[in-house]
């Protein structure tokens, strides 16, 4: 795939017997962009991410990844291009060892074993887990598990990286490592998060979702400074001054 872009055209989606969760989403993320997807809980962020590699398909409208429209027929191609990191790392680590987990994607791609081993080594190295190949997932800390989950996606050498709440439940050091890993990914990144500081650091552009719609598409720094009620709710700019702030007199 030569163009690692994501395009949503009037995408609607509703779960069975449920209300519409995506209500006519239009967006274009171009090659190499790092974009944050912000929004309150239940605004439709995760549902939107699941459309990108066809885990959910639109009820109406079209999602195009690279030059490929996402449909049942193109799932294999699309999933080779889009690496998705889920919110809960434990859901991604289901093999007996970290090495097997990281090799799961490349083996499904039908790569030869020597190439699988090379990719496993490189992916674990890039997330700081070199030498963890034979460790079971349950013996790792939360931060290491998150890193392993990311490695399991990086080993597929995706053109587009999609992350759902990657910094949730991480301590400061693990969060910093995660930011460094994502910053080192040179292709397209779409990052759904409540961690606005991470969004500011990693993503020059941000999309804001509310009730299944993209209600803002602007530079992240501009949104952070906005007094708009939705942006203020996301960036928490309406909060009172910290009580431990030094007295001004």
């Amino acid at each position: 795939m030569s163009h690692h872009y994501i395009r949503f055209s009037d995408v609607h989606f509703s779960y069975p017997h449920g209300p519409e969760v995506l209500c006519g989403v239009d967006l274009l993320i171009t090659h190499g962009e790092h974009v944050a997807l912000l929004g309150l809980n239940g605004s439709g962020k995760s549902t939107l991410l699941l459309q990108i590699n066809g885990l959910l398909l639109p009820s109406r409208g079209e999602v195009v990844v690279g030059d490929i429209p996402v449909s049942k027929k193109t799932l294999r191609l699309v999933r080779q291009s889009v690496g998705m990191v889920f919110q809960n790392s434990d859901d991604m680590l289901f093999m007996p060892t970290i090495g097997e987990d990281v090799a799961f994607g490349p083996r499904n791609m039908g790569l030869p074993e020597t190439e699988v081993e090379r990719r496993v080594g490189a992916a674990l190295e890039s997330v700081g887990l070199a030498g963890f190949e034979d460790r079971p997932a349950f013996s790792l800390s939360g931060g290491q598990r998150r890193a392993a989950a990311i490695a399991s996606v990086l080993s597929m050498e995706p053109d587009i990286l999609v992350l759902d709440e990657p910094s949730a439940n991480l301590d400061a050091r693990a969060r910093r490592q995660l930011i460094d890993i994502i910053a080192g990914f040179s292709h397209t990144v779409l990052l759904a998060t409540h961690d606005t500081e991470m969004a500011l650091e990693l993503c020059p552009r941000a999309l804001v979702m509310d009730a299944g719609r993209i209600v803002a598409d602007a530079p992240t720094a501009l949104l952070a400074a906005s007094t708009d009620s939705i942006a203020a709710g996301i960036f928490d700019t309406a909060r009172p001054a910290p009580i431990l702030a030094p007295a001004s007199n």
């Binding site: 885990l55 859901d91 791609m109």
Partner: protein, 258 residues
């Protein structure tokens, strides 16, 4: 540590090979041969089955698992084995031999034979799963031509045993945290908890399945590198095949029983 935590640790530990030296394909080949050898010993010759215990005893010690552990786990199937053989002493009362003036019927001999072969067969299968690791064992089954659907079902059954136990563990912790030591809940509440457990496990399974699909899973679990045959695999098979065939066909007990 609670029983559920112990169970979860046991399930998870079964996923990995006991040692990196264990070769799943070779283990499976020897296990299949061993099962045929054990089950083909004549029913009224339990003294010839006993010698076949050499394989589980030696191999469990060599692979670092320990025979006692394998033996104790094999006792899980004892009730089933007893059920299969329990009517033999009643139905087959013909005298087989005398011990100190007491007649031992052919029914008792066949009963002992059934118990022995049942336990040894179970021990061999447990040894395979424990030393090769569950996933490598499944990979080896695929290499032996076992249908893909069956192997995938085995892998999912194993995976979801861990998922259900994990969810049960979290629910149990939440209950204990607010239960203040209370144990005598009404049956209706336990029923609701079981229902909740199934719903939670289903949701978790759906999330795991999504994560697998996102990485190209198409219904077939990829085989690991440990299921490839090496020169050591062939040596292992050759050594144990010789031993098992010798124990099966050479009547060693006749050297001791005149």
């Amino acid at each position: 540590m609670s029983k559920l935590e112990n169970t979860l640790i046991s399930i998870n530990s079964l996923a990995r090979p006991a040692t990196d030296r264990t070769d799943a394909v070779a283990m499976l080949a020897v296990t299949l041969l061993y099962l045929v050898a054990v089950l083909s010993v004549p029913l009224y010759a339990p003294q010839r089955i006993i010698w076949l215990a050499v394989y589980p005893v030696v191999q469990s010690e060599v692979s670092g698992i320990g025979f006692l552990r394998v033996f104790l786990r094999s006792l899980w199937v004892l009730p089933l084995i007893l059920l299969i053989g329990v009517f033999n002493p009643v139905l087959d009362t013909q005298t087989a031999f005398m011990v100190g003036g007491v007649a031992v019927s052919r029914g008792w001999v066949s009963f002992i034979s059934i118990v022995l072969r049942g336990l040894l067969a179970m021990q061999a299968v447990l040894l395979l799963a424990m030393s090769a690791g569950f996933y490598d064992m499944c990979g080896a089954l695929r290499r032996f031509g076992c249908p893909r659907v069956l192997v995938t079902q085995l892998q999912f059954t194993y995976r979801y045993m861990a998922v259900i136990t994990e969810e049960a563990l979290w629910m149990d912790r939440a209950r204990k945290a607010r239960g203040f030591g209370r144990r005598n809940y009404p049956l209706r509440m336990w029923g609701r908890m079981v229902g909740q457990l199934l719903v939670r496990s289903y949701e978790r399974a759906a999330r795991v399945h999504r994560a697998m699909l996102a990485r190209g899973f198409d219904g077939t679990m990829p085989l690991s590198r440990r299921t490839r045959m090496t020169r050591r695999s062939w040596c292992f098979i050759a050594a144990w095949t010789s031993v098992v065939l010798l124990l099966r066909f050479a009547d060693i007990s006749s050297l001791f029983i005149k």
